[in-house]
Symmetry: C3
């Protein structure tokens, strides 16, 4: 094959793989809400690696591994939210990708339905750490910190922005 | 043409078409809010096929076809929302695409401006069913169910997740 | 090089550049919130050209150029928001791109943490005007109008939709 053609094909393939990864990560992010809000819990857990961590900034609910995530999402606290009406939504995230590793950063909101109408129950900064395993992006860790003025949320944002710079090299 | 080159070009073209479709569907979703919030109603209706259905989970406002959609968006209820200040926003959706057919799933929020400030008036799960007609993605149906604890919303999410699996085959 | 191959490679390269631009603009949009909410102000300012304008629809805070943007984001008003907890989020925007120029249109929300919980403090329509400089998309102007029922917000949406049509030609 002509070297000039080979080079252009290879460049296109690399660029397209980068684009596809960003869209696949968007898909992963937008799967979480519908999965947990409909109690499709296996689907929710499948967004993590087998031993992936879900740290929501509340020690009572820290989770490590699929069994732990399933237990927490199966608990009354979560089922009660779903029963009264809720939505777990994620803003369009900032994403950094390098080879088989990626980081995402955005805002997570938990809305609940109350007697007085719809309310914003929790608002957190949300960081995702992903690896590509067998051609699929899965989370090794998701970290939330409530945006209630505590320094932990600001620190999580700053650290994640720095880690994104390092990742891209 | 060399078979190896032809195969790689063809693979790139197919993958890129998939990527472009996902971005075009994002564009369709993000057109709806600005269109209805500025009373650019022809633009809003053009997001559906000529006989497309808009089922917002409230029989008083069910719509089938462009004329019906235009009538509802031209009604006082909607014009009053716009006059006092409102925003129809859609979360980053999960999307499944197969050939000329696609399904989207996310959350729709209607914010209104009240004397007491901005409020979340409606929060719904939102499903889009699209077909590609003459090279353009248009909705055959958009379905909303209010996330107020009623089982219909959870059922819509579950059914849509299952239909997405079937679509991808 | 064979003309048929050259044509297909060139078409792929142009389409992919368009796709990458849309994703880069998504990245720019999703950088703003984490930057200002963590007081990473140089990163926030870098989203604009050196003399870029940030018009938030409140004359007290209009900004032109990096120094001006940094001054405003460094002021007590903004630092107090960050200290009590806040999130600046942007909805998935509608985007129009032509060559080295682009326009984005979506909704901006400023959430704050109050004694009573999380509240939606400001809800605006948000328009971005970008140019591509040295291979990077930067804003020449960002314009907000509060969705409080004033005609300016509706007019900004309509004008932006019209400008997007003109841009695409």
């Amino acid at each position: 094959m002509n070297k000039a053609i080979e080079d252009r094909l290879h460049a296109l393939e690399c660029r397209l793989e980068r684009v596809e990864s960003q869209l696949e990560l968007y898909q992963a992010l937008s799967t979480y809400g519908p999965a947990v809000d409909s109690l499709s819990l296996d689907l929710a857990a499948s967004l993590w690696t087998h031993d992936g961590v879900y740290d929501i900034g509340d020690e009572r609910f820290d989770m490590a591994g699929h069994a732990d995530i399933l237990d927490t999402l199966n608990a009354d606290y979560h089922k009660d939210l779903v029963a009264k009406g809720c939505a777990h939504t994620m803003s369009l995230p900032l994403i950094a990708i390098k080879d088989q590793q990626a980081i995402g950063l955005g805002y997570h909101r938990l809305y609940t339905h109350e007697d007085t109408g719809f309310g914003l129950h929790r608002l957190s900064v949300s960081r995702w750490d992903w690896v590509k395993e067998s051609g699929r992006w899965v989370a090794t860790r998701r970290t939330h910190r409530l945006l209630d003025g505590s320094p932990e949320a600001r620190e999580l944002i700053r650290q994640t922005l720095a880690d994104m710079q390092s990742l891209k090299g």
